[in-house]
Structure formats: structure tokens, C-alpha cells
């Protein structure tokens, strides 16, 4: 490339695998039974990234609104199902419905604003911007909602007495869940906020590092990183907020009683 990027060859990348060999050696020597997982993880990472590289090349070279839309839907569906799989039976059917609405709604709002108002992507479906930014926003919203669910479900279990007492005292389900919802929201956004605190000092974020490595001026890379970080914050906050706003209701029945399945 003309902007001074060192193109990596297959053989150069192969040299990187020496670290896998090193870890395998340590695992074997200390009899830690993780060799199989490490080997599978190495294979999967390699295969998945090579495959996605070819797919992305294909998509970016042949931009089409329907393909962009399909990728977007695929990412959202994958995120929703990842959350379902993580919690298994801890998620009631009604809570699953809430996740399936809140995660796409929050991510899409933030994504739409970021792509069309902040960056002003041309054409609007340009996959070069659309796909990586969707990945970052949806991925982080998924993590945020996961933390929100975790706190919500746990608190409704371990603070059951407080919720019941509040209901006895005449609180609405909303009033009785106020503290729990606040705690869950806090738990969901804190990792993103902490990330923002450490950014640029403790670590250089992946996207920015990637852009700088591929020859983009650090000042441009920084502007993109700031924008993306704000978009992530928006996506995490909106998805979790929508989730909690609808989610706490699923713990109560129509008579404003805490459901006995807890």
C-alpha cells in the first residue's frame, strides 16, 4: 500500500503461532487440562477470521442495500440468541420477548443516529462503515443487556422480601422495583464508562489501533474512536433502559403481586 503499511504474508502470520506452542508447552508441563480447548480455540479463531475476511471483501466490493440489511439482521439475531443461550432457563418467555425487542431497538436507534446523523454515510448502506460499526454497537449492547439481566434477575431473587414489603406498603410494581432497576442500569453501563475512563491511557482501543496500523492518521482514528465510543454508550444505555423499562414488569402478575415462580 502507498501509505506505508507492511503487508503481512501467510508465512509471517504463521510465525505468530509460536505463542500457541509456547502456551501448549506450559499447559503440558504443569498438567493443566486445557490443551484441547486451546487448540480448538486457535483453529476456530483462524478459520472464523479467514472466512469473515473473505465475506467482508465480497460484501464491501459489491455493496447492496439488501445485503447490508441482511448482515444487520443476522448480527441482531445472533446477539439476541447469544443472550438467550447464556441465561437458558433463567430467562422466562416474557423476559425473552423483552430482550428480543429491547436489544435491537436500543442498538438500532444508536446505530442509526451515529451512521446517518454523525458520520452521514454515503450511500446510506455503505457496508464499509455499516458492518464494523454495527458489530461494535450491537456487541456492546449485548454485553450491557447481559449485565442488566444478571443484576435484575439476581436482585429480584435476593431482595424478594424488600419488594414484597414495598408492595404490602402500597407501592406500585414500578415503585417496588425502583432500586433494583437503578442497580441493573448502573451495572450495565459501568464497564462502558470505565472503558472511557481508561481509554488512551491504560489501553489503545482496538478499532483505533487497527486504523493506525492500516495507515490512517492517528488524529482521524481518534475522532472515529470517540464517535464510536459515544455510539456504544448510547447503544448500551438505550438497549438496557428499554430492557429494564419492560423487564421489571414481567416479575409481577396482573394483580401487582410478585410472581411466585421466583
Amino acid at each position: 500500500m502507498d501509505n506505508g503499511v507492511i503487508e503481512l504474508t501467510f508465512w509471517q502470520v504463521l510465525l505468530g503461532y509460536v505463542f500457541v506452542v509456547l502456551v501448549l508447552f506450559v499447559l503440558r508441563k504443569r498438567a493443566i487440562k486445557r490443551e484441547t480447548v486451546l487448540v480448538i480455540a486457535t483453529f476456530r479463531m483462524t478459520l472464523q477470521l479467514v472466512a469473515v475476511g473473505y465475506v467482508l471483501t465480497l460484501i464491501i466490493e459489491n455493496p447492496h442495500p439488501l445485503i447490508t440489511l441482511a448482515v444487520l439482521l443476522l448480527m441482531l439475531a445472533f446477539a439476541v440468541f447469544t443472550v438467550f443461550r447464556k441465561f437458558k432457563e433463567d430467562l422466562t418467555p416474557s423476559l425473552k420477548k423483552v430482550v428480543a425487542i429491547a436489544l435491537p431497538a436500543g442498538s438500532l436507534l444508536s446505530l442509526g443516529y451515529f451512521l446517518f446523523v454523525v458520520i452521514r454515510v454515503e450511500p446510506y448502506y455503505n457496508p464499509q462503515y455499516f458492518i464494523p460499526i454495527t458489530g461494535m454497537i450491537v456487541g456492546n449492547s449485548m454485553t450491557g443487556i447481559t449485565l442488566g439481566i444478571h443484576t435484575l434477575v439476581n436482585r429480584f431473587t435476593d431482595q424478594k422480601d424488600a419488594v414484597i414489603e414495598a408492595l404490602h406498603l402500597g407501592a406500585t410494581p414500578k415503585g417496588a422495583s425502583h432500586e433494583i432497576v437503578n442497580e441493573a442500569f448502573d451495572a450495565a453501563i459501568m464497564p462502558t464508562v470505565n472503558n472511557m475512563l481508561g481509554m488512551g491511557i491504560i489501553f489503545l482501543p482496538g478499532m483505533m489501533t487497527g486504523q493506525i496500523l492500516s495507515g490512517v492518521a492517528p488524529t482521524t482514528a481518534i475522532l472515529y474512536q470517540i464517535g464510536v465510543m459515544l455510539g456504544i454508550l448510547g447503544g448500551v444505555a438505550l438497549s438496557t433502559y428499554f430492557f429494564l423499562l419492560m423487564g421489571y414488569r414481567t416479575f409481577f402478575n396482573k394483580d401487582a403481586q410478585l410472581k411466585t415462580t421466583l
Partner: protein, 210 residues
């Protein structure tokens, strides 16, 4: 005011017929674990009967809005939960749950005197004994100015002398303010002394009062 007809709740409680009139003091007696608390929870709509109907002022409880009903008919748990914070926080939280304005310290101190709890409003509730918590919880519901008070052994953690004082304070409060009081108690003597009407629950069934 309350009319209960052939009400059942799972295998826990069966009540054939029960009636409570406005302004009455009604005591429910019986062994522990017999379903008395369940009965109070049914009246407060914290539980819904699995069979039969409960009416409140001639309206089926099932048709009433649960939250407004609970604000009208307040239930005091036998082992009330304390919210983290001070005595003041625990008194004010009930008003906030009712979407009412906060009261000043003077009004809160008056309530504490009424339930014979001489502690500072700034004291953390984690330093209170079981009996003190129970009295604070009692003060918390008295603040709410409801029409009906359902009290589940409001003095179970107290010694005999305090128990008499607290029960008398509650009964006086109900009479002076024309409130309806439905109180679960293990003591038939207390019930006979104060109640206009006594019901007995034995092994989950309504029994004749002896």
C-alpha cells in the same frame, strides 16, 4: 366492609364465611402456621384466592385495582423488612410508596412516641433490635393514614409488658381515628379484651371460637 364467602387459598386456608364492618376491631386467633397471615394477605390483595370471593364494600376484590386497594387496606407483616438506611428513611419510604408528600421530623417523632420507640431519626436501622424494628414498622404503617389496618401479630417480638402497651396504642389509634383494625394475635385474652368480633383459624380452617 369485607365479606368472605367460601374462600380457599391452595391447601393453606379455607374460610366459609366471614364479615368485617367499618370501624370494627376484629381479632383473628389460632395456632401459628394455621393460615392467619394468609388470610390477611388475601384481604390486602397481596395474594388472590384460588377459590371463592372476597368483597370490599360490595365490590369483588378481583375487580379492584390492587395498588389503590393496598393503599386503603395496609398490611403489616409479622417480620417486617427494614430498608437500608436510617429510621427516618424507613418512615418516609412508605409515604413515597404512596406517592404522598414527605412529613417533617416533628410528625415523624410523634409517630415514634406513639409506638414507644425513643430513638433518633438519624439512627441506622441495622442497630435496632427485633422488637424495635417491629415498632418502627408499626409506626411506618400508622403514618399512611389508611382506612383499614391488617396487623399480623404486631407485638410478637416484644415482652409481655411492651406487648400490652403496643396493642393498646394500636387499638386506641384505631378507635380515635375511626379505622377498621383486623389483627392476628396468638393471645385469646388480648382478643377478648379488645375485639368487637373474633374469628379462629385452626389448621387452615375457620373454626368456632371457644
Amino acid at each position: 366492609m369485607f365479606e368472605i364467602k367460601d374462600v380457599e387459598y391452595k391447601n393453606v386456608l379455607r374460610v366459609k364465611e366471614m364479615e368485617v364492618n367499618e370501624g370494627e376491631i376484629v381479632c383473628i386467633v389460632g395456632e401459628s402456621g394455621g393460615g392467619k397471615s394468609t388470610l390477611l394477605r388475601l384481604l390486602n390483595k397481596s395474594l388472590s384466592p384460588t377459590k371463592g370471593t372476597i368483597s370490599f364494600r360490595e365490590t369483588n376484590l378481583a375487580d379492584l385495582d390492587s395498588v389503590s386497594h393496598r393503599r386503603n387496606v395496609v398490611y403489616l407483616n409479622q417480620t417486617p423488612h427494614m430498608f437500608p438506611g436510617t429510621i427516618r428513611d424507613n418512615l418516609l419510604i412508605a409515604l413515597r410508596f404512596h406517592e404522598k408528600e414527605d412529613l417533617g421530623d416533628d410528625a415523624l417523632m410523634t409517630i415514634l412516641r406513639q409506638v414507644r420507640l425513643s430513638k433518633s431519626l438519624d439512627m441506622d436501622v441495622k442497630h435496632l433490635s427485633g422488637g424495635e424494628r417491629q415498632r418502627l414498622a408499626l409506626g411506618r404503617v400508622l403514618l399512611l393514614d389508611a382506612e383499614v389496618y391488617l396487623m399480623d401479630e404486631p407485638s410478637s417480638s416484644l415482652d409481655d409488658e411492651s406487648e400490652n402497651l403496643i396493642i393498646e396504642a394500636v387499638v386506641r389509634f384505631a378507635k380515635e381515628n375511626n379505622k377498621t383494625l383486623i389483627m392476628v394475635t396468638h393471645s385469646k385474652a388480648q382478643a377478648r379484651k379488645h375485639a368487637d368480633r373474633i374469628y379462629e383459624i385452626k389448621n387452615g380452617h375457620q373454626a368456632e371460637v371457644d
